[in-house]
């Protein structure tokens, strides 16, 4: 909690921006581009598709509307995007080069040859391939050691998982370097212990896909019914705990060994049709596509993407509250981002859901903002003197006043000062000030010191009173 006015905060010196190259700018390449850019990297994209720039713009627009909402700390300033005219032009000078080309081995190998001719000796080369093994990609490479699989998941700008896979020719230190960079992008690199076709997640997905195709083929369920069977049931479970942890719980008090022994016989039952694959005939394709059309109820892919992103952001933020899984990762990134330039100042970005129908900041948002400032202040007042404090300040009253209506995307920060102090009462004054200096809102919190033992209201204990005097003095010197 800073007691400084935001204008006091010197802008931190702009560090040299890191550079990434994306070969292929479709849904996956565009998602990578968005994540690098929003995390402050400069990005060069090469894609031979004449529509590439428009498609990339659409992905970026989605990402800008979603990724920053995952975090409470502000992201670094967005990097610069450049459309390159060739693979060589994109790759030159890049620290990370990511290939997201179609799944054809010869195409990918040809791309690597062009990358290697232009890239610096330290550059890392990742492939988004969902199926090929790194040893297959490395055939013909001048330096196979730095070419590995970095397989992300759509939408790349929101889902954290990246499967990192090397071959026998990949030194461990290379994957360590890659993992550190992905950590910095807020991602969750998962080093796969042994290369296999389709890595880990797509093996599981492929299994579900085959079974799903059979269910439609056999008329057991429509695409919508299968989707509902997932999202109203085990899909919710898997967003926070995976297969094994869920079954550990299902086993109950008897434990995992007992669960496995009990489950053994079921493996012998002919439950799945996975021993075989249905032929993807024109008729089956038509059935699935028609069912999928009905399910979409006229919503475009763009609309579905926005709905998906809103859901993912909301759920991942919910998991921040429980500090679990993807939410725990977000909290860690928040810590890393906030610990940098901001000196504890809580900088916020005005989001669409901050504003009511009339464009004014919602009362509840303002109250939450000022309340956490108050809490931080109370924490700061009694920090390290908890034992001697013999009580604490509790908020009794509050007021807020909106002064100006911000625009979505505006950045602002809360500044808090001690307004007055008399007996048991302490009044804090808050201001929400936009980066340009405009005060958007003010607020006041009235607190009362309560004795820990008797729960009676009384003037603060000596160490607390002394701390308050120090703060007021520091404040006066700033004013």
């Amino acid at each position: 909690m800073a007691l400084k006015h935001p204008s006091e905060l010197a802008a931190s010196p702009q560090p040299e921006r890191r550079r990434a190259a994306l070969i292929g700018g479709g849904v996956i390449g565009g998602g990578w581009a968005a994540r690098f850019l929003l995390m402050g990297w400069d990005v060069a994209v090469f894609d031979p598709d004449p529509e590439a720039e428009r498609k990339l713009g659409a992905v970026l627009e989605n990402a800008r509307a979603a990724l920053p909402r995952l975090y409470d700390a502000p992201l670094p300033p967005e990097g610069r995007l450049r459309i390159a005219g060739s693979i060589a032009e994109a790759a030159a000078g890049a620290e990370w080069i990511q290939e997201s080309a179609p799944e054809r081995l010869e195409v990918k190998r040809a791309i690597y040859r062009e990358i290697e001719a232009a890239a610096g000796p330290q550059a890392l080369i990742g492939s988004s391939t969902s199926g090929f093994k790194p040893s297959e990609l490395q055939v013909g490479a001048a330096d196979p050691a730095r070419l590995f699989v970095a397989h992300p998941f759509n939408p790349v700008y929101l889902l954290p998982l990246v499967e990192l896979v090397g071959s026998d020719a990949t030194p461990a230190v290379m994957l360590d370097r890659a993992a550190a960079i992905l950590d910095g992008l807020g991602m969750r690199p998962l080093k796969v212990r042994r290369e296999i076709d389709a890595h880990i997640a797509d093996r599981l997905l492929e299994a579900v896909w085959r079974e799903g195709l059979w269910l439609v083929h056999d008329g057991v369920a429509t695409t919508e019914e299968i989707d509902d069977a997932i999202r109203f049931g085990f899909g919710l479970r898997w967003a926070q705990m995976g297969l094994f942890e869920t079954y550990r719980i299902a086993g109950g008090e008897a434990g995992m060994r007992h669960f496995l022994q009990q489950f053994g016989p079921a493996l012998k039952w002919p439950w799945t049709k996975l021993m075989d694959t249905p032929e993807l005939s024109d008729q089956l394709i038509e059935t699935i596509a028609a069912q999928s059309d009905a399910q979409a109820q006229g919503r475009s892919v763009r609309e579905l993407e926005r709905a998906r992103d809103a859901n993912l952001v909301a759920m991942m933020r919910a998991l921040k509250g429980t500090d679990w899984g993807a939410g725990r990762l977000l909290n860690a990134v928040d810590g890393a981002l906030g610990a940098g330039a901001l000196e504890g100042e809580s900088l916020v970005t005005i989001d669409a859901d901050w504003l009511d129908g009339g464009g004014a900041i919602r009362e509840a948002r303002l109250a939450a903002l000022f309340e956490s400032a108050t809490e931080a202040c109370v924490g700061w007042i009694s920090a390290d003197i908890a034992e001697g404090a013999a009580g604490r300040y509790a908020q009794t009253k509050s007021k807020t006043r909106r002064l100006a209506s911000p625009a979505i995307g505006d950045r602002a920060s809360v500044a808090t000062r001690i307004a007055s102090r008399r007996g048991a009462k302490l009044r804090l004054a808050h201001a929400l000030v936009r980066a340009d200096g405009t005060a958007l809102a003010t607020g006041e919190s009235e607190l009362t010191f309560v004795c820990a033992e008797t729960r009676e209201v009384r003037p603060p204990s000596r160490p607390v009173a002394r701390r308050l005097t120090e703060i007021a003095r520091a404040q006066a010197s700033i004013d």
Copy 2:
């Protein structure tokens, strides 16, 4: 939005409670019991396990801490739980009888014989079986028509999905009756079009399970790594959209048909090992169990359950905000619950996260509560006169004051009145009043009428002014 004081609200007459019988009170049966009880049904449980009552108590404790938090409307008063001494004793007089016994066909059939001897002629009999087909269960039943599969997902008190499966002997009207009851429990019945072994969801789960076992067996990944591959990636996706809708989006602008045609060849690749199943040898069981132990980091199954429930509640509540999937279902249930006895009054339950460290209601909660009351009020003031309104009230200032600290679980309601009105200004007074009549907090909102066209502040348009006079008059007659 009620403008009445909560004491004005007559308690609705207590309807006759509906009765359910649970045969088997383990994790699944206990979960069913909890859902029925918390939704106001009386429940009788029979389970021969001498530990049954204790285990049931543990499930109920979890459910009471989680299920009510999914909803904003209050649940009906909890039903009465009775431990029955026999299947017949449990089944007598029950409207729904749910069998959650071990997966052994002869055991289940013997249970149905006992149920049928005691149950009323109209009683529905559901089975929680995850594997058997209803036609298999119905063999030997006196009335096969009313015996069907109602397969839920753990935790039954939170996850909405129930697979409803009938055989050729099941009349459609029977499944309709079952679905209506499950709807009333806040669940999402999914009628399966054709009976097959393991229905729908467990087919998909079984496929993933087999592939997961191979990945551990082959040393490609540990249980924790597989779980991370799920929960940081596609698991998040599947909590809100299923397999097909996700792939529809992945196909991008080219559409679902194109996606399927492109995906066709991959089905021929030997990506999965599903043509075979790994032997669940002692060694593989030991490997999995040991990895699962390491992953749990000493957390007990009880602790994991609580973490899981907190995550599920948080994510499902997040999906209420986007009105999607499981969240949309919750909103519908809220509507149904709220539309009953409460006449729009917003009754709330004080939850642990409402209170700060000192036991006082958090400022942000209070502000949100009063803000939504203000918004409801503004909506009510201009309802049906939007066209003539030519402007709207926008909140400019607010104040809150905490008067008393509630206990967790207390129920309270917000009452709002027009405090004053002069020119463009309108002041609303809120009170948060506990069910026993204690005022927990008060608040005041100041609003200003803003012209829709010029954005200038001015007195409200005639229809709005007239409505305000009506409200004030109605208020006076109540006071």
